[in-house]
């Protein structure tokens, strides 16, 4: 059955390479080569303080580990395509490399998810082209 949930509605030219890397289960972020600021989502400008870097952000591969910064449990899906998934956990993950990303916590009952838990990426191969970096609580 084809995957029917939303994927990359509006890829930017900065994000094509990021999504392509998911197919090989590589979680990318960028780092400014001038000031080393970690950058995510990918873009052309460096957001670092007092850095005027432009197109100086270079792709890096994350080790895929981080800490739950915050989360919520969604019990009422607005989108019927997620009806079978509720309740599910949306979380913000503070990655060890210093960037923050939005994802799901899978494999742990929603009532056992806590801020501060260590998590590791768990790829979900949703199509032949794209895998979603979801996270599981690491032992």
């Amino acid at each position: 059955m084809p995957y029917s949930k939303p994927l990359i509605d509006h890829p930017t030219y900065n994000s094509k390479e990021w999504w392509a890397a998911t197919q090989q289960h590589r979680l990318l972020y960028q780092r400014c080569r001038l000031c080393q600021t970690p950058v995510f989502p990918p873009r052309d400008a460096c957001p670092g303080p007092d850095c005027l870097g432009f197109q100086a952000n270079e792709w890096q591969e994350s080790a895929g580990r981080g800490t739950i910064y915050s989360f919520t449990t969604v019990r009422q899906p607005m989108d019927p395509r997620f009806n079978d998934d509720v309740p599910y956990t949306l979380a913000l993950i503070e990655m060890d490399e210093g960037f923050r990303m939005w994802s799901n916590i899978t494999g742990t009952p929603v009532e056992d998810v806590r801020i501060g838990q260590r998590v590791a990426v768990a790829w979900d191969d949703v199509t032949d082209e794209v895998a979603l970096p979801k996270f599981t609580v690491a032992g």
Partner: protein
């Protein structure tokens, strides 16, 4: 340089919040509110020589000033966008004061409206934001803004406590105010703390009665030169200070998001106004959720960081209370007409300052009022101090 006291809000119009207005479009609602504000100010169309029209959630934006100038039959000599979402009401007032103070216009019309059609847009909110969707939507919808603010509330609980039984205080006191505002969405329905705690979880840890009430509606107000305002029929409501702070767009930004962006805006607002938070008689603070108000109270200096949830227990935020807050009911109980929801805090402040708020008029003297706006996912916030005292 300061715009302290240079301008005043001289006319306001607030359309009644309705569950939806599929019968009306944005220009119609904007026009009704705009003409109401001109009428309220005792001005003529020709007097309106500046305009700041804020688009609705769906962003029917392109050329909105020109569209509405033609629709209304006005020809302003200055116009611009505001574009800070829910912070646009307060920001629009401050920007209008700056325009007036710079001599670019005498009377600036500021307006926003939402013709929410629940059938067209589930939840009344717009489709995916192209700059965010690929980093959020694949992981499941967040039930509009609920998921974002749930994450803020979750982190606040984790750091400081402040659970729903404490946050409920905001919802209950605002509802009491709404129960005295005949046009509020929840005029006839009182609630208790238990009702809030026992309402269903929308997105952990936020419960239904901690969330905004999406409506259709619209607001307009007119900011005029202080010296000219004195000859108009209404008591002018002077803008003593205002500021905006725009630190981020979204939560991927690596910042501490239990610190409200208004923290910095409030400092500059109070410095310009030459008053502090504890001088304020009435607060109209942007309330998308209970947690939003608590963090704005902390950020603006009313309570210390992490202590807000306990501090609010000792306050009476009703119109009869020691610190009246969101006296129209707030967007949770009055209604949130898209980005015009943030305008309701401005118009309500004006009604209270004039002593024209009817049944919900604050009982103590109203001299100084503090108003805030908040846009997006706690992304950008504004603050403003108002007074009717020309010598304040």
């Amino acid at each position: 340089m300061t715009l302290r006291g240079a301008a005043a809000i001289v006319g306001v119009c607030e359309l009644r919040p309705e569950r939806s207005r599929p019968d009306r479009d944005i220009p119609s609602l904007l026009a009704e509110a705009s003409l109401g504000a001109i009428r309220d100010a005792g001005l003529r169309k020709e007097d309106i020589d500046g305009m700041l029209m804020e688009p609705d959630f769906a962003g029917s934006a392109g050329g909105l000033n020109a569209k509405m100038a033609e629709y209304l039959g006005i020809q302003p000599k200055f116009g611009a966008g505001i574009n800070v979402q829910g912070a646009s009401g307060v920001t629009g007032a401050v920007l209008a004061a700056a325009i007036v103070n710079a001599g670019l216009a005498n009377y600036v019309l500021v307006a926003c409206a939402e013709a929410r059609d629940p059938n067209a847009r589930p939840g009344g909110f717009p489709g995916p934001d192209p700059t965010l969707s690929e980093w959020q939507n694949p992981f499941g919808p967040v039930v509009a803004a609920n998921g974002w603010y749930a994450m803020i509330a979750q982190r606040y609980e984790y750091l400081y406590g402040g659970t729903v039984d404490k946050r409920a205080k905001i919802a209950v006191d605002q509802r009491t105010n709404a129960n005295h505002n005949p046009v509020a969405a929840f005029y006839t329905t009182p609630i208790t703390r238990d009702d809030v705690v026992n309402s269903r979880l929308v997105a952990d840890p936020l419960h239904l009665l901690e969330c905004v009430m999406p409506t259709s509606g619209g607001s307009a107000f007119i900011v005029g030169r202080a010296d000219m305002a004195r000859s108009l029929p209404n008591k002018p409501v002077y803008i003593l200070g205002g500021a905006v702070h725009i630190p981020r767009q979204h939560f991927q930004h690596p910042s501490d998001f239990v610190i409200a962006p208004v923290e910095r805006a409030a400092k500059r607002t109070f410095a310009m106004a030459k008053y502090g938070p504890h001088d304020m008689d009435v607060l109209e603070l942007y309330d998308s959720y209970t947690i939003t108000v608590i963090l704005e109270l902390e950020g603006s200096g009313f309570a210390k960081t992490g202590e807000g949830a306990d501090w609010i227990q000792d306050q009476d935020f009703t119109f009869r209370g020691n610190l009246p807050l969101n006296t129209h009911g707030g967007q949770m109980s009055y209604g949130q007409a898209g980005d015009a929801g943030g305008f309701s805090q401005v118009t309500e402040a004006v009604f209270q300052a004039r002593g024209a708020a009817g049944e919900r008029q604050v009982m103590k003297d109203v001299n100084l009022l503090f108003v805030t706006g908040s846009g997006g996912s706690f992304a950008q916030q504004s603050g403003m101090v108002l007074t009717t005292d020309p010598n304040a």
